[in-house]
């Protein structure tokens, strides 16, 4: 028993043990800080990459919108009345005359309706957010949210 006590005392009094404890503690802090920094860097880098991609995609959308507008106008020129008439005549078509038409009753025939180029306005509906805020906030946002209410509560309760 005495021997065990001596050994324990010797161990606890060993100078390198205290240093080791400090080093381990320090390393733990460093690892923790590195971990946090790593996570933060990863999240920030990913957010920045996404932001960059969004900017690039917006530029692409703008370019495609310009191209769409161009193509629509080109198509309209090709199918315009002034272009179509001579082309149709060249192909042997003739404008139909009133007395050349035979009218036939076609059951179920629906005459051309007014164009629907967009849907009619719908009644306003409140749509719940698809993702909770927790899934969209950054680490800093989360910390801020956790700390600031605590601080504000502290301010409120203090006399």
């Amino acid at each position: 028993m005495e021997r065990v006590r001596n050994l324990t005392q010797a161990y606890s009094q060993a100078p390198w043990r205290k240093q080791l404890k400090l080093i381990v503690l320090f390393l733990l802090c460093v690892v923790f800080a590195a971990l946090i920094a790593g996570i933060y860097l990863d999240v920030t880098a990913r957010a920045a990459t996404m932001g960059r991609e969004i900017l690039i995609m917006r530029a692409e959308i703008e370019a495609q919108e310009l191209e769409n507008a161009d193509l629509s106008s080109q198509l309209a020129v090709l199918t315009s009345a002034t272009e179509m008439r001579p082309r149709a005549l060249e192909m042997g078509f003739m404008p139909v005359e009133r007395d050349e038409i035979i009218y036939v009753v076609v059951p179920g025939y629906v005459p051309p309706q007014k164009p629907d180029l967009a849907p009619p306005p719908a009644p306003t509906k409140v749509i719940a957010a698809a993702l909770p805020a927790d899934y969209k906030q950054s680490l800093i946002d989360w910390f801020r949210e956790q700390i600031i209410p605590t601080l504000s509560r502290a301010v409120e309760v203090s006399p």
Partner: protein, 588 residues
């Protein structure tokens, strides 16, 4: 630890401490100095992002079936980033050859020293895609070129920048130009729909800061495009009507022509054309096309004395008020005195006893002046106001004029005006006002406001416009009775307006033209108003030829135009002949 190590540690510690003190000191100095704070805030703002003027795409204009009448095409601004320019001579020479720009001006512009005020210069704008492709090809070719002389800068277009943006484009060129109007390079609409709805179509231009911080990408505002509009115009009908009008103006040697085709039951304008017309893609030729005070769209912007087509309104009022009936007989002695002036018939002849159909059929001024006196002054002008004469129709087009209807109480109204107004003299109306007024007779007495917009498309939704009934100047029975009288008049006259298989209603008009010295005897305004099919009116056509030289009479020059238009309308609108239509209805 030896002395050398201690010295080293002390030195490094001191160095780092001094560095830390210096940094903290600088922080304190900047934070404590308002000027420095201001300076750095401005610097930060400058590098935060780029300020960009975002002009939303101008809304599109479609015909009633969704065919594009006004769209947008991509054009380019050509500029130079001064810091990137390597060879100003190459740029000046290339732009001189490809774009026709002045060599010296371009050279001076791109040779500027870069400064905070001069970073980028605009050299040209609204350059077409083809020319940009040509410039890009030259740029690529010059990249591989080396200088002939040692020390000389090799030819290069480096520094040239092409920024795309949209420009208005009209694929149908002149078609419906009087209705559409045009947009100048500053994006402002002139005339027609482009001017009337400029704010709506153009959207809201915004200056936004495009952040360099990618984390702020989502903070960029979404700027919606301008609203698009579906018009009531039918492109096919418009094209046919324009062809017929151009031919008629040429054949009859008229100064100008105007035709409006509308659906009397809904007020929708199916076609509206006038001469001259402008290729909207070359709007800068406006002054050459519209010389002097020539209106852009006579159908709404030029009031004129319509002549005998106006008799339809006088007769409608008299029948509705019970002042006359179709069987009322008037003894025409060839002249009548109203308010101290003598009114004669168009041929100065006496037509003897005439019922109301005869009065309309032979277009007797004397008879209609008598009818107006039977109706009474107050009643006559009340009816004319109810028909919308002397008021704006409220059509969605810029530049509508009100015309002129003098009424009792006006300083320039005389009792004689009742007599002359009854047959369309001394009253100024636009063709569209006449269309609106007469449509009440075709539409069972209901006065429908004319409209040119069928739907708006804004922020992804389509909003349809509604029929707007603005009054009921006459009873349905009156409308039916008058339609019958007019239809029989045309049939008994064997008018050139008639169309085989379809019962149509109409009235011709020939008006002398007022001048500062009285009415001109050598020039007339020839008009025709008609609609059909009589039992279910689907179209109403108004025709006006100004100063035709082939013949002064509306019955000779305007009535055949109505015939030609209706021949095409029944095909384009799928309107079967009356007997076929009745058979189809009976079988259902």
């Amino acid at each position: 630890m030896n002395t050398e190590s201690t010295w080293r540690y002390t030195f490094v510690t001191t160095l780092y401490t001094l560095l830390a003190i210096f940094i903290v000191g600088q922080l304190v100095r900047i934070q404590a100095n308002p000027e420095q704070v201001e300076h750095f805030l401005v610097q930060a703002k400058l590098h935060e992002g780029d300020l960009r003027l975002i002009q939303p795409a101008r809304g599109l204009l479609y015909d009633r079936w969704g065919r594009l009448l006004a769209g947008n095409i991509t054009v380019y601004e050509v500029g130079a980033e001064l810091a990137q320019v390597r060879n100003p001579h190459s740029i000046a020479l290339t732009l001189n050859v490809v774009l026709g720009l002045d060599y010296a001006e371009v050279l001076e512009a791109v040779s500027q020293e870069v400064s905070p005020e001069a970073v980028y210069v605009v050299l040209d704008d609204y350059v077409t895609q083809e020319k940009i492709e040509l410039l890009e090809r030259y740029e690529t070719e010059l990249e591989n070129t080396t200088s002939r002389n040692k020390g000389e800068e090799p030819p290069s277009l480096q520094g040239l920048v092409f920024k795309p943006h949209l420009q208005r484009s009209y694929p149908e060129k002149r078609l419906a130009s009087n209705v559409l109007g045009f947009v100048n390079r500053e994006g402002r609409g002139y005339y027609g729909v482009e001017a009337k709805f400029n704010d709506l179509i153009a959207g809201k231009t915004m200056e936004v800061l495009v952040p360099r911080d990618p984390n702020l990408a989502l903070e960029l505002p979404e700027i919606p495009d301008g609203a698009s509009i579906i018009l009531t115009i039918d492109r096919a009908i418009q094209a046919e009507v324009e062809n017929i009008l151009d031919q008629a103006v040429e054949e009859n040697g008229a100064d100008s022509g105007t035709i409006v085709v509308a659906d009397p039951q809904t007020g929708e304008i199916l076609a509206m054309t006038t001469t001259p017309r402008l290729d909207l893609n070359e709007y800068w030729q406006y002054a050459e096309v519209f010389k002097g005070s020539t209106p852009f769209n006579r159908a709404i912007s030029q009031a004129y004395e319509p002549g005998s087509v106006y008799k339809v309104l006088t007769m409608a009022a008299a029948l509705d008020a019970g002042a006359v009936t179709p069987e009322t007989v008037f003894l025409d002695v060839g002249v009548i005195e109203v308010g101290g002036i003598y009114i004669y018939n168009w041929n100065s002849a006496a037509w003897g006893p005439q019922d109301m159909q005869g009065c309309l059929q032979h277009s007797l001024n004397v008879c209609l002046a008598w009818v107006a006196t039977q109706l009474g002054t107050k009643n006559f002008y009340d009816y004319m106001r109810a028909f919308g004469i002397g008021r704006l129709t409220g059509v969605d087009l810029a530049g509508e004029v009100i015309g002129r209807l003098k009424i009792p109480g006006d300083t320039d109204w005389y009792e004689a005006d009742l007599g002359t107004n009854s047959f369309g003299q001394g009253v100024a109306v636009t063709p569209l006002q006449m269309v609106m007024a007469v449509s009440a007779i075709a539409n069972e007495g209901k006065l429908v406001a004319p409209r040119i917009v069928r739907s708006f498309i804004d922020k992804g939704n389509q909003y349809d416009t509604e029929i707007r009934i603005v009054g009921m100047p006459i009873k349905p029975e009156t409308a039916r009775t008058l339609s019958e009288l007019l239809a029989r008049s045309l049939e008994e006259e064997a008018s050139s307006a008639l169309v085989e298989g379809y019962r149509v209603v109409g009235k011709t008009g020939t008006a002398e033209i007022p001048t500062p010295y009285g009415y001109s005897l050598s020039a007339t305004n020839a008009s025709f108003v008609g609609w059909g099919p009589m039992d279910d009116p689907r179209f109403l056509v108004y025709i006006w030829l100004e100063k035709p030289t082939s013949s002064p009479w509306g019955s000779v020059v305007a009535a055949p135009i109505f015939h030609d238009i209706v021949e095409r309308l029944v095909v384009l609108m799928d309107i079967p002949p009356d007997d076929v239509r009745r058979d189809i209805l009976a079988s259902q």
